[in-house]
Amino acid sequence: MGKEFFSYLKCRECGRQYPKKAVHVCEYDFGPLEADYNYEQIRHSISRKLIESRPHHMWRYRELLPIDGDPTVGLQTGFTPLVKADRLAKALGVRELYVKNDAFNYPTLSFKDRVVSVALSRAKELGFNIVACASTGNLANSVAAQAAGAGLKSYVLIPADLEQSKVLNSLVYGTNVIGIHGAYDQVNRLCSEIAGKYGWGFVNVNLRPYYAEGSKTMAFEIAEQLGWRAPRHTVAPMASGSLLTKITKGYQEAIKVGLIDEQPFSIHGAQAAGCGPITAAFKAGTDLIRPVPKPKTIAKSLAIGTPADGYYAVHAIRSSGGGSEDATDEEIIEGIRLLAETEGIFAETAGGVTVACAKKLIATGKIPANESAVLCITGHGLKTAEAVAPHLPAPRLINPSLREFDALIANETAVHAAAV
């Protein structure tokens, strides 16, 4: 690629420009740095047709991602299914519904594969040999797997009480898993100190301006898969608020570079009731995020009490005419089961949050019944199986005997008949 599309990093607060290094905070006012592009050049360089001619992975939108050369990590990542969810639409009472299914992302079954693909491609360009992250689980899985594939050494730091399968899904890749006795926000604080001291490439600390941009590809794909248009409504789960903010930026950029027409779209947020600081701020009509010191929810991947992008997320929701809801543990489990039973999609707890909050947004008319919506499902249910397990019935056990099977079925018919 001879042309330079990615110009520099820019402070979101004061606009000061920074070189494209491993820096993430403005030295002047501590605002977050964000990638900025030469949109005019991009507009003239890409088209729907060109993108459609490229392989089915997230790098088909390469001009809008913050690397200099060709991507080296994540060449199979993204372009996950957009499922038309008619049965779920009927259950929730909305005309048209789609599920953007990142539970099927490559290689580690969550949307984090997108952000890590960008972060590690950039880490290699910047010459890092060791990459690391602070994580609630999914990010750790993806850093571990993709660092292994890229031949980088990795350290992943997680709260010590994560789901077993999320820990195992990092360990297997030979990464260094370090469990911290503390909540995610404490892990994050420690990582920011480590990043400063050891000079590693922390994907969500000093590489965050690159990492965060990967989430935009979810929006680009949704727009392309809908036939190059933004959905009227998009519901996204919120932990730090970064995904929701970047989905918004993705639709805006797609309009800016001429991939989709100017059109109204609303972005809605979903959080867990046990850790919902962004939803709380939205509902209180403020943009001051009151931290949640001790998150308590089965949706551990969303348990960030001090959301870094909370302020921007509240503004993205409000300015797009969206809404924000939260879901209790019980509603999360119901959401997981409803999605599984109506669409055959097994989502992790964050997916249950998204479904449960979408249900409320539809019931309250924030998403009108005669409009269309996309639900962002961000991780696979097998990763948080232990949260659902106690709520599922045990299999019925019989001997390998037709008579026993007949009896079991006969019993069932009788129950069914009685119910009718």
Binding site: E13, H24, V25, C26, E27, Y28, D29, F30, G31, P32, A134, T136, Y184, N188, R189, C191, S192, N204, V205, R208, A239, S240, S242, L288, R290, P291, I304, T306, P307, A308, Y311
Partner: protein, 91 residues
């Protein structure tokens, strides 16, 4: 009586590398004014052109974010612990 204010690493070049500075004041606003008087330039790093606390600067009094107290008008007294902490991006 002066009140100790803890200074974060990125601002220490302005405070002769001191991690704690004792300044006079009965409110956060007054403490910041005294701080800027002694170390000119530090004020604009903490407050925007309208004089409001910058979005990614947190000031804590005894562990509580002043945004949830009385913001810049939060009273302080000797014995209080005041710290300036930039927000930490992550996640």
């Amino acid at each position: 009586m002066p009140i100790p204010v803890s200074i974060p690493t990125p601002l220490r070049p302005l405070t002769e590398n001191l991690d704690t500075v004792e300044v006079e004041g009965a409110t956060i606003s007054q403490l910041l004014a005294s701080l800027d008087k002694r170390y000119p330039g530090i004020g604009e790093r903490l407050l925007d052109a309208q004089g409001n606390l910058r979005r990614f600067v947190n000031i804590y009094v005894n562990g509580e974010d002043v945004r949830f107290l009385q913001d810049k008008e939060t009273p302080v007294k000797p014995g209080d612990e005041v710290s300036i902490v930039p927000a930490i991006a992550g996640g």
